[in-house]
Symmetry: none
Subunit: 422 residues, 2 copies
C-alpha cells in the first residue's frame, strides 16, 4: 500500500511549530505494519496545496492530509479537496449535527465561522472528532483514498484510532514487525562496521537501521512479513552477541531506567557526586518514576572550595594533583558513599569547557569513579566536545559504568580509552 502524507500550516513552514503530527500518524499506521512513503509540507496556500494533492492522488493508494480543517480563512483543506476531486462543497448534515452538539455542550452559540467547518466535499464520509468542533472526512479520488484530519494534536490522536480501526477492517495488516535494541558506548559507524564484518550471512528479509538518539544508539531490525519472524529473532541474537555489553536492553529502555531496575533488584542504593556534569546524572535518574526506591540523594560540588567544605576533600590533594585527578575523584566517591549512606556511587570531575582547560588537562578531560566501598574503579576519559554534548555523554557513561559494574559485564566498553584502575 503506497501511503503519502500532506501537511498544511504556515506555522510549520516558519518553524514556529515543530510537526509532531506526522510522527503520530506514522506510529498509528505502523500498528498495521503500514509505512509512509513520502511526506510533503506546504503553507496555507490554495494553489500549492492543489498541486501537491493532484500529484499525490495520481500515485498513492492512501493519503492522510493533516491540518486546515478549522474555521478561519487560512483553513483551506475542504476547498482544496473539493477542487481536486472535482465536486461541490455542500453543507454536510452530520457535520452540522456535530457542530450543534459540540457548541450546546459548551453553552456556546454556533457562529458563522463555525459553519464553515461543516461545508465539506459532496458525498464525503465523516470521521468523528471526539474532542474538537471540526470533523474529519474521507473522499475517494479515483484509486486513491484521501483522509483529512485536524492539525490540533489532541484532536488528531483519537481520530487516528478511528482511522486505524477502519483500515484494519479492510485487512491491510502486512505482518511487518519491528525489534529495537538500545545500546550505549559504540558509535553508529563502529556498530555498522562490526555487523558488516562479522555477520556474513545477514538475511535479506531483515532490514537493519540505526538511530542516534543521544546519548544512546538504537538498532532497529524490521521484517515486512510475519513469515520472517525466525530470521528476525536470529538476527537479534547475532547482534546482541556481537555488541555484547553495549546492549542496554530492548524496546525503549533508557540507561537510567535500567540502572534503577538493577539497583531495585538488589535492594541497593546509588548516590551521585558530580562536578562537571553539574547534577545531570541525578536529574536523569530522578526523571524516571519510582527513582526514590534506589536513589536517595546526590551532591553537586562544582567549585574546589565546595569539594573541600561539603565533601571534605583534602586541600593537599587538590593542590598537588588538581581537582580533575584520580585522587580527587576517588576521595569524592569514597566520602559521598559514607555521607549519603549509599551502596553504589558515581563520581565525576572534569573540564566541560569552553574555559578552564590547561595544557596538561585540556577541555574534555574527565575522571570517573564508580562502584562500592569495597570495589571502587576509576578511569580517565578525554572527550573534547561541545559543553552540553560532553555533559550528556559523560553522565550517560557514569550510568553505563555502574550498569556494567552491577552486572559484572566484560569486556570494557568501547569508549574507554584508558585502562580502568581497580
Amino acid at each position: 500500500m503506497h501511503i503519502e502524507v500532506l501537511l498544511t500550516g504556515n506555522e510549520i513552514m516558519s518553524g514556529d511549530t515543530v510537526d509532531s503530527n506526522s510522527s503520530k500518524i506514522a506510529h498509528h499506521l505502523s500498528k498495521l505494519g503500514l509505512i509512509i512513503k513520502r511526506k510533503v509540507t506546504v503553507g496555507d496556500d490554495q494553489k500549492l496545496l492543489e498541486n501537491e494533492l493532484k500529484e499525490m492522488t495520481s500515485q498513492a493508494d492512501l493519503i492522510i492530509m493533516n491540518g486546515g480543517l478549522g474555521p478561519t480563512v487560512d483553513d483551506l483543506t475542504a476547498e482544496v479537496v473539493a477542487s481536486v476531486a472535482n465536486v461541490k462543497l455542500v453543507e454536510h448534515s452530520e457535520a452540522i449535527q456535530h457542530l450543534n452538539d459540540w457548541c450546546s455542550k459548551r453553552n456556546l452559540s454556533v457562529n458563522r465561522a463555525n459553519y464553515k467547518q461543516a461545508m465539506l466535499p459532496e458525498n464525503c464520509d465523516i470521521l468523528a472528532n471526539p474532542i474538537g468542533s471540526a470533523v474529519g472526512f474521507i473522499v475517494q479520488i479515483g484509486e486513491c483514498t484521501l483522509m483529512c484530519t485536524p492539525g490540533v494534536p489532541g484532536e488528531l490522536v483519537p481520530m487516528l484510532d478511528i482511522i486505524v480501526e477502519r483500515l484494519n477492517e479492510k485487512n491491510v495488516y502486512s505482518g511487518s514487525k519491528i525489534l529495537r535494541l538500545q545500546t550505549f558506548g559504540m558509535g553508529e559507524s563502529t556498530a555498522q562496521q562490526l555487523i558488516n564484518d562479522k555477520i556474513e550471512s545477514w538475511p535479506d528479509e531483515v532490514s537493519l537501521g540505526f538511530r542516534a538518539s543521544l546519548p544512546q544508539l538504537e538498532i532497529k531490525l524490521t521484517i515486512s512479513e510475519k513469515k520472517h519472524l525466525s530470521a528476525l529473532l536470529s538476527c537479534k541474537e547475532m547482534v546482541c552477541e556481537l555488541l555484547g555489553a553495549h546492549v542496554i536492553g530492548e524496546g525503549e529502555t533508557r540507561l537510567a531506567e535500567e540502572v534503577l531496575k538493577l539497583l531495585s533488584e538488589k535492594k541497593a542504593t546509588l548516590t551521585t557526586v558530580e562536578s562537571c556534569t553539574g547534577g545531570l546524572i541525578a536529574s536523569m535518574l530522578t526523571k524516571e518514576s519510582g527513582a526514590s526506591k534506589a536513589f536517595h540523594s546526590g551532591l553537586v560540588v562544582y567549585s574546589d572550595e565546595m569539594k573541600k567544605k561539603l565533601l571534605n576533600i583534602s586541600q593537599e590533594t587538590i593542590e598537588s594533583e588538581g581537582a580533575v585527578s584520580e585522587s580527587v575523584v576517588r576521595e569524592m566517591a569514597h566520602n559521598a558513599l559514607s555521607m549519603c549512606s549509599a551502596n553504589y556511587v558515581i563520581a565525576v570531575t572534569g573540564i566541560a569547557g569552553p574555559e578552564g582547560g590547561t595544557k596538561e588537562k585540556p577541555v574534555g578531560t574527565v575522571w570517573l569513579c564508580w562502584g562500592t566501598e569495597q570495589n571502587l574503579k576509576s578511569c580517565c576519559l578525554f572527550w573534547p566536545l561541545e559543553r552540553t554534548l560532553f555533559q550528556t555523554l559523560i553522565a550517560a557513561s557514569g550510568l553505563d559504568l555502574i550498569r556494567r559494574h552491577i552486572n559484572n559485564l566484560d569486556p570494557l566498553p568501547n569508549y574507554l580509552m584508558q585502562k580502568v584502575i581497580d
Copy 2:
C-alpha cells in the same frame, strides 16, 4: 527566492524521530527574511530521493537537504546528489583532512565506514562541521544551489550559522526583521488575549506569533520590510510593558542564563537544594558555560532520611508536617545556605508522581523557597502534570522566582496561585 527543503531518514518516516531539524532550518533562514515554500520528506531510498531532488532542482533556487551524510549504508545523500548533478563521487581532500583531524583528536583510528563520508560529488564546496565527523557540502545544479547538511541536530545548528553567513554575503536579505521576546509564567492563550484586549492600535505591518518552547514561551514580532522598523520597536515596547516581569529577555535568552548573569553582576552565589526536581535546577544552571562563577554547589535530597542526615532537617518537622511542607522547605533553604556558603538559594520539595500522592497532598503539590538568609520567601504550587513536564516547569519556576527576587520585580508572576509568604 524559491526555497525548498528535502529531508531524508527512515526514522522520520517511521515516526520514531520527530523532525525538529526543519524548524531549525526555517528559523535560521528567517534571520535573512527567507521563507521555505515546500518541504518533502522521504525514507532512505535512492530512487525516491533522486526523484524528489530532480523535481526540486527544476523549480527551486535553493534547496537545503538534510540527513544521510553519515557513514552507514542507509546514508545516501552524496550518491543521490552526484547522480542528479551527473558528476562522479570522488575522495574530497578537505573532507579527508577533517575526518583525520576529527578521529585523531579523539584517539580513534579512521575506519572504512568513516571514509565513506569523504566520498563527495566532484567539485563540491565544503560546509565545515565543527562537531561531527561528516562535513556538509554545496553543489550547483543548473540554476539551483543545493546545500547538504547533517541530520544530527547538534551538528546541524552550527552549520546553519555558516549557511546563513554565506547567504548573507550574497545579499539575499529581504529587509524583513524578527524580534523575539522570551517569557515565562504566562500561557499562550493568556498572553494572546491580553495583547488583543489591551493593545488597541496594533499595526497591520507587525505580525505577532507565539512559540511554546517549554518551559518558556517565545513571542515573535515580524516585519517584512525595513521601513516598518519603528512600528516593530513600538510593538515590542507595548508588549514588554503589558507582560511586565514575565519577559525574561530578548533573542534566545534562557532563564538559567539570565539568573547567572544577574548573580555575576552582583558577584553573588546561588545554591540549590532539590527534592522532586532531583538535580534538574543544578543541571540547567551548569549547562550554561561560565556557571562556575555563581554556582558552586547544590544538593539533591530525595528521601526523608537524607533530608535529615545531609541537611539536618528535624525529624519532628518531617513527622508533624510532612516532607512536602512550608516548614521543611524553609529549613532546607536555610540549612543549604550555610552548608553551601551561598548568598542565594532555591529549595524545592514536592510530589512529582505518578505515585506518592495523598488526599491532602496530591501529586503535583510542591513547596518552593527562595531568596537570601535575611529574606527568604516561600510558596506552594499545585501543578498536577505528567512527571517530567512537572519537573521542567517547577525547576524553571525556581529559577524565575530567583530572577524576580534579585531584580525586585513585581507584581507576582501569573502562575503563583497562592500568596507568597515572607
